[in-house]
């Protein structure tokens, strides 16, 4: 693999890495035909972030040397971040950045060509890894809101940097409300200050949600994408599905930025607000493609091109661990902002799905879910499917 980034795009790449570093400790780097993807997930699997840089983002982009398979690698986030540590310096001095990986070497080489003939070479050791992908589809979420990053940046300004979670919802008069979320502690004598920000509908480019819907997510993780979007002057869209009384499996919220050269998605778990007795945390379901998940012997492992993507995604989306039961906020949102009873469009399917079914993705087959394309298999499945250990993540 060889990618060459030049000019202002070096800083954009650096900013993306900074954003990703807010989420996870390991960076999954994968050159695809569609572009270079950088992904990460946090340790509790409650946040997943991914940036995809299109080939046009690079002055030169070569996903794989001919004849060789594309390499995937996992690097320590700290190491990769160190290359772009000071964005101000990167902006001022770096003219070109070359990222290369060849099968023979054991290092990912990041070379910065700087002013005055200075060349900085970073040899980052990596591990081979499986492809990291979360199963999600913004199109499945019934509620969307989209605004320039600046508006959302101003919206989160009143909240203290230390605040962990925030509730986003639609209030009376179709105003978008952001409110600090405090987990209720039974024995706390010192109550925390509650801050609420209310923004009019006019500030949003798109607002497709009814009054009363609300989700609660981690603000700190969201700030990672927000700062990227602000620096790149992009619009940020939020796709979500608020849990209702009948649909007790809350979906993760999807935060997305997009322009012609890149795509960014942050998928964050949301808290369930509807049911006091089974507080559930819905995490993005993650799959490692190798080793393959145990098929409860589905015979048709070979060809998934014909499979209905939609049913796959629902099947895969399960609630993750219910460990760390989060208390439901007892302070209701202002009247007119109540979690709705109306479930999302797929909730019935949701209920029908056997929640323990692993929902096997095609083994060793590469699936790029947010682009809805299924790429050619990297490895052909080995004969009759061996019974392999099930990937136990996400099952709590």
């Amino acid at each position: 693999m060889k990618c060459l980034v030049t000019g202002g795009n070096v800083k954009v790449l650096g900013k993306a890495v900074h954003s990703l570093s807010r989420i996870g400790d390991e960076l999954y780097l994968e050159p695809l035909e569609d572009g270079l993807s950088l992904r990460t997930v946090n340790s509790s699997r409650s946040a997943y972030a991914c940036f995809l840089f299109a080939p046009l983002f690079f002055q030169q982009y070569q996903a794989a040397t001919s004849g060789q398979e594309a390499l995937r690698c996992k690097i320590l986030m700290k190491s990769f971040l160190a290359v772009f540590r000071s964005l101000a310096t990167v902006e001022k001095t770096v003219e070109k950045c070359c990222i290369s990986l060849n099968g023979r070497s054991s290092c990912l080489v990041v070379q910065l060509h700087c002013k005055y003939g200075v060349r900085k070479t970073h040899n980052l050791s990596f591990q081979d890894c499986e492809s990291l992908q979360a199963v999600f589809d913004p199109a499945l979420c019934p509620h969307v809101l989209r605004a320039p990053a600046r508006v959302l940046g101003e919206a989160v300004l009143p909240f203290p940097p230390a605040l962990a979670e925030v509730t986003l919802g639609i209030g009376c008069g179709r105003r978008v409300i952001l409110r600090s979320y405090q987990e209720e502690e039974a024995d706390s004598t010192v109550k925390a200050m509650v801050t609420e920000m209310s923004i009019g509908e006019e500030d949003f480019q798109q607002l497709q949600a009814q009054e009363g819907v609300a989700i609660t997510f981690c603000l700190k993780e969201f700030r990672g994408l927000l700062s990227f979007a602000e620096s790149a002057n992009l619009s940020l869209s939020v796709h979500f599905d608020a849990p209702g009384r009948t649909c007790h499996l809350p979906r993760p919220a999807i935060f997305a930025v997009k322009d012609s050269l890149l795509d960014g998605h942050f998928v964050l778990a949301t808290l369930s607000e509807s049911d006091l007795h089974s507080p559930a945390l819905c995490s993005p379901e993650l799959h490692r493609l190798a080793p393959p998940l145990q098929a409860h012997s589905t015979p048709h492992l070979d060809d998934f091109a014909s499979d209905d993507i939609d049913s796959y995604m629902i099947a895969m989306e399960t609630t993750a661990d219910s460990k760390g039961s989060r208390a439901v906020p007892s302070i209701p949102l202002s009247p007119g902002l109540r979690p709705p009873c109306s479930p999302g469009p797929f909730s019935e399917d949701h209920e029908a799905e056997p929640s323990t079914e692993p929902g096997t993705p095609p083994p060793k087959k590469f699936r790029s879910l947010f682009f809805g394309s299924i790429l050619a298999p990297v490895h052909s499945p080995p004969g009759p499917s061996p019974v392999l250990a099930e990937d136990s993540e996400g099952e709590g």
């Binding site: 101003e154 925390a192 200050m193 609420e196 009019g200 006019e202 500030d203 302070i331």
Partner: protein
């Protein structure tokens, strides 16, 4: 009990924000006293605050365009609220570009001071930020500990140098010793001194000036060059100085001949300053319980920030 107030003027809002930021630096939790004419931030010298006490006063009409309050009764027309100073400061800091700011006492599952800010927005739509600051209403029977201090006679009172300069000096001295000696005389000289086994460092300030004496007799007896000294914990002094972001219009320091009556009853040691309550005067004795009358000095800082007065008391080290 009711309270609602509104600020529409940007300068008033900034000033009020600065006052709350200063209070947040001086005390973690404090009492907000609301009365028809004034707002006070009070810190009574609890053991928790290390004996430090504070009385900050501002005239409400200098800040608020609207101000309505109703105390707990007609005779006791005041409201005393305990709150975390940092919350108020943080809430006000979000009002940078506000069109209007409203504060009111509300009850949202628990008593709150709700700060509601209408922000100026580039687009036509308005943006509203609301902060609910949890407060504790202080019952009437505890009000007597939170009254305005009466200032006993002082040995020496002197105008202070630029506080920023004083702060940077005291900051450096803190690295060497926690025990600071303040000496002042009636010739406008102030010394800050620390002494250890190895080293003794003194900073001399001259020509500071002395405020006119409160009462005739005390000052005339005292020779102008004679230094009055008091020992204080340097960290308490530093906390006070750190709270002063802007140099005050006027700053006076007095060494007070205070006395703390330590009142021990039911196994609890509490210190009541001589001025809490109208009845007690310096050196008051209480019968029926053990009393330790300790004659101890107090350093009194009397500052004026434009139209906000701040009095800060640091007890001397015994």
């Amino acid at each position: 009990m009711k309270f609602r107030a509104k600020i529409v003027d940007a300068a008033c809002l900034n000033h009020f924000t600065r006052v709350s930021a200063m209070i947040a630096k001086l005390a973690k939790t404090c009492t907000l006293r609301i009365s028809p004419e004034k707002l006070n931030f009070v810190l009574s010298d609890r053991v928790a605050s290390g004996g430090v006490s504070m009385w900050c006063e501002l005239e409400q009409e200098n800040f608020f365009s609207e101000f309505q309050m109703e105390g707990i009764s007609a005779e006791n027309n005041a409201i005393y609220l305990d709150l975390t100073a940092e919350n108020l400061s943080r809430a006000l800091k979000t009002a940078q570009n506000a069109r209007a700011l409203k504060i009111k006492l509300t009850n949202k599952h628990f008593p709150c001071l709700t700060v509601s800010i209408e922000l100026l927005s580039v687009s036509s739509s308005s943006r509203v930020v609301t902060h609910d600051i949890p407060v504790k209403v202080i019952p009437r029977k505890l009000w007597k500990d939170l009254q305005e201090p009466t200032i006993p006679d002082s040995d020496v009172s002197i105008y202070l140098p630029v506080l920023k300069t004083m702060k940077s000096i005291v900051e450096k001295m803190k690295n060497i010793s926690n025990h600071l000696i303040m000496e002042a005389n009636l010739s406008g000289e102030l010394n800050l001194k620390i002494e250890t086994e190895l080293v003794c460092i003194t900073t001399h300030f001259k020509d500071l000036g002395n405020p006119p004496p409160a009462s005739e007799d005390t000052s005339q007896e005292r020779p102008p060059e004679q230094m009055a000294e008091v020992h204080v914990d340097i960290r308490k002094l530093l906390q006070f100085l750190a709270g002063q972001q802007v140099n005050p219009t006027r700053a006076v320091c007095r060494q007070l001949k205070g006395s703390h009556t330590f009142h021990r009853g039911a196994g609890r040691l509490s210190a009541r300053p001589p001025w809490s309550g109208a009845q007690d005067g310096p050196g008051a004795h209480l019968t029926g319980t053990e009393n330790y009358l300790v004659s101890n000095k107090i350093v009194h800082f009397d500052l004026l920030h434009e139209d906000v007065s701040l009095q800060y008391f640091i007890p001397a080290l015994s």
